[in-house]
């Protein structure tokens, strides 16, 4: 039973090590270093032996000593297989091994003898594997976005694998693309338009949404349930369905190609969410405060501006952020109009 567990543990942990090293190798390749083989089998074997040795040696050897010995053996063999690698590559491998051995530290004889130990091993390593893989898959396009902005189109076309940034070329050459978009393509103007539209949307949406959300949260009136459910349904409605009628109506009214037109559409499409989010929060504000205000003869306008808004600043700011994000990232309507 125990040997079986040890072997399963070694296999799974070495799979994990292989994935770690492979990601590292991909990143290294992207620095313009020639690396044509992952050496899956060798690394798998090495990882297997390291895990096995870790369990067998157990606590007989000092942890740091063990770590150093394992890493050195690993780096030596790995470096022997793929020659002429820079030192920083080996430092990276060392750090990966440090991380790996740190992770397998917890699997000693005791855990491996436990019930369900196979599942615990699989579960733990799946989680670890997931974290590493997801971080890589998510961050890679963003990493690429940043790096390519510092490189020229030609350099990328010549060698798409070279992501290294040449810091020696001086500030002006490094930020060349940024200078170009701001100088030749008037990027500042576009940013200004985007900012005006987004902030305008946030402002108008809040002006409309706060009173409406307050009424739905607090006041009794005919059609209240209908309103609150229709808000949610409207939120689900597709923007693409609205495009053609809005385009025709807007071009007849002369609202096409104007910031006002965009503001109207954005406000209308973000209002339902804003009202929905705000009324939920308004309901949590104690009613007694408003009752006291009514006794003091405060009008509804006073109630909203003097009680509701100051008390719900956190909710309002998060709604504002969300609306801003929607308006800033919106593509379809700004393409059309």
């Amino acid at each position: 039973m125990k040997t079986k567990n040890i072997i399963i543990f070694s296999i799974i942990s070495s799979f994990f090590l292989v994935s770690l090293i492979s990601i590292w190798k991909i990143l290294v390749t992207l620095q313009g270093i020639k690396l044509e083989n992952f050496n899956f089998q060798t690394i798998f074997l090495l990882g297997f032996l390291v895990s096995l040795a870790h369990v067998i040696i157990g606590n007989k050897l000092n942890y740091i000593l063990k770590l150093i010995i394992f890493s050195l053996i690993f780096i030596f063999i790995d470096g022997y297989l793929i020659q002429s690698m820079p030192i920083w590559y080996n430092i990276g491998v060392f750090l990966i091994l440090y991380f790996f051995i740190n992770k397998i530290k917890k699997f000693n004889n005791k855990i491996l003898e436990e019930e369900h130990s196979t599942q615990i091993i699989i579960f733990d390593f799946l989680t670890l594997f997931g974290i590493v893989l997801f971080s890589f898959v998510i961050l890679f396009p963003f990493y690429m976005m940043v790096v390519t902005s510092f490189k020229t189109q030609i350099a990328l076309l010549v060698n798409p694998l070279d992501f290294s940034i040449n810091f020696a070329q001086g500030f002006k050459d490094l930020f060349k693309s940024y200078f170009v978009i701001f100088k030749s393509y008037k990027f500042g103007k576009y940013i200004l338009t985007s900012t005006i539209v987004s902030l305008g949307t946030v402002f108008i949406t809040l002006v409309f949404a706060i009173p409406a959300a307050y009424a739905i949260a607090r006041l009794n009136f005919f059609g209240k349930t209908f309103l609150s459910t229709s808000i949610l349904i409207i939120y689900m409605f597709p923007a693409i369905v609205l495009v053609i009628p809005l385009y025709t109506v807007f071009s007849q009214l002369g609202l096409r190609n104007s910031i006002e037109g965009l503001l109207i559409v954005y406000t209308a499409t973000t209002l339902p969410v804003a009202i929905y989010m705000l009324q939920g929060y308004f309901k949590s504000i104690p009613k007694e405060l408003e009752e006291a205000a009514i006794l003091d003869k405060l009008s509804w306008f006073g109630i909203i501006t003097k009680i509701i808004i100051p008390l719900s600043i956190p909710a309002i700011s998060s709604v504002a952020l969300y609306v801003f994000m929607i308006a800033w990232n919106e593509f379809l309507f700004s393409l059309m109009f």
Partner: protein, 419 residues
């Protein structure tokens, strides 16, 4: 007393909600009805602009005669397709001016030049000249006359407002443009995108729900794809997947996994051999679906993580006492606890994916087998500029959505009843 209080409350409520309700209804609900109207009409993009009568005023002085001035109006119909009926014209002049030899269609009264031009056919153009002279023989001032702009009015048929209806658009949508293929593509895209994002949402939520170093960092990293602008992301992916200079293809070739680059976004089918069976995988569609999953699993992740953190710890402690394995804990405790969230998520994501336009449009433009229904709305309406057919496609989208919602709630209601 109580009655009046309730009344004022009602009134206040209406005052408070009306602006928002009006705006939303005008921009969201009205277009849906307008869509139904347009979908039964034969309208093209160029028909939408209202034809206008226009006049350009040119002031010319006459050589040797300082008391006279020639004014040329360049009249035209702005539309190339439609006529304008009963065009009327008005222009104001300073007090001491009067016309000489006025055209029959016009009259001069109270310093105003009024003309009735009748009907202008499409593409109509005319140069209309008037000579003015000063009553008292003083010199004319060109600038004074130039600064006044003439006013023109005319009636024209608005193609959107007449009552000619046709079923042509729906015929076109349902029988001509490979409608079944369109539906299938949309369905694959929607269904696999939804399921994929939920599966990855569950996996990541399960991961982040455990304690480890850098957990908060991880949580914010996971939200990156969801909050970043879709334009930037789609562009980066295109750069990454490009067959000639893309990083992914170069990497795969470098490691000798493939020999020739694969055009992941531009190839419709790829032959795949699984267990000896040859499959034809829709490559571009698969890539687009993967992008979809990558971009939207954070939403599922957020919802599911919030639910996971609300599951009482006692359940897991009890399971530990009973000697349950991690997998049993996941399938017997966690999964049943999050089914409600998953069913809501499935609905939301399904509807949103069904309507998703930007992602596919930016990645492939609807080429190589990725034409979904929303893309078709755009292509019909703006690329082929057949607004009527585009509207008909939108109507099909709305009907399918309503059907989906209806069956989904019916199914959900049944399941709740059984429980």
């Amino acid at each position: 007393m109580n009655d009046t209080l309730a009344k004022t409350e009602k009134r206040t409520a209406y005052i408070l909600t009306l602006p928002a309700v009006f705006l939303v209804f005008a921009i969201v609900l009205f277009p849906i009805f307008a869509n139904v109207w347009i979908s039964f009409k034969e309208v093209e993009l160029k028909d939408i602009r209202i034809p206008e009568p226009r006049a350009k005023k040119i002031v010319k002085s006459i050589l040797g005669e300082t008391t006279k001035i020639k004014i040329l109006y360049k009249l035209r119909n702005s539309s190339l397709l439609q006529e304008i009926r009963d065009v009327t014209f008005q222009d104001k002049y300073p007090k001491n001016y009067q016309p000489k030899d006025l055209d029959k269609r016009c009259e001069f009264k109270k310093n105003k030049l009024n003309c009735k031009f009748g009907n202008w056919p499409a593409k109509y153009r005319e140069n209309f000249e008037v000579i003015f002279e000063t009553k008292d023989g003083s010199n004319v001032s060109k600038n004074e006359i130039k600064s006044i702009k003439p006013k023109l009015k005319g009636k024209s048929d608005n193609i959107l407002l007449n009552t000619k209806f046709t079923l042509k658009n729906f015929k076109k949508v349902l029988f001509e443009n490979e409608f079944i293929d369109l539906l299938l593509t949309t369905f694959y895209y929607t269904f696999f995108g939804t399921v994929g994002s939920i599966v990855f949402g569950i996996l990541t939520a399960q991961m982040v729900n455990q304690k480890f170093f850098g957990r908060t960092f991880m949580r914010s990293v996971l939200l990156f794809p969801y909050v970043a602008p879709v334009v930037a992301l789609a562009y980066t992916w295109e750069l990454l997947l490009d067959p000639n200079s893309g990083t992914l293809n170069s990497l795969l070739i470098n490691y000798q996994i493939i020999e020739t680059p694969i055009n992941l976004l531009g190839q419709k089918y790829i032959a795949v051999n699984i267990l000896g069976f040859d499959f034809k995988l829709r490559l571009a569609l698969t890539t687009v679906i993967i992008f979809e999953i990558w971009r939207y699993f954070p939403l599922a992740f957020l919802f599911i993580l919030a639910r996971l953190q609300a599951i009482p710890k006692e359940l897991y402690e009890a399971a530990d006492v009973d000697g349950a394995s991690p997998f049993q804990k996941f399938f017997k405790i966690t999964l049943p606890q999050i089914t409600a969230v998953i069913s809501i998520l499935f609905m939301i994501r399904f509807i949103w994916n069904f309507n998703k336009f930007e992602d596919v449009f930016l990645l492939t433009g609807g080429a190589s087998g990725t034409r979904t229904l929303p893309i078709n709305v755009y292509q019909q309406g703006f690329a082929i500029s057949d607004i009527g057919t585009g509207s008909a496609v939108s109507i099909v989208i709305v009907i399918l959505l309503l059907l989906f919602m209806f069956f989904y709630f019916k199914l959900l209601g049944k399941r709740v009843d059984e429980n």
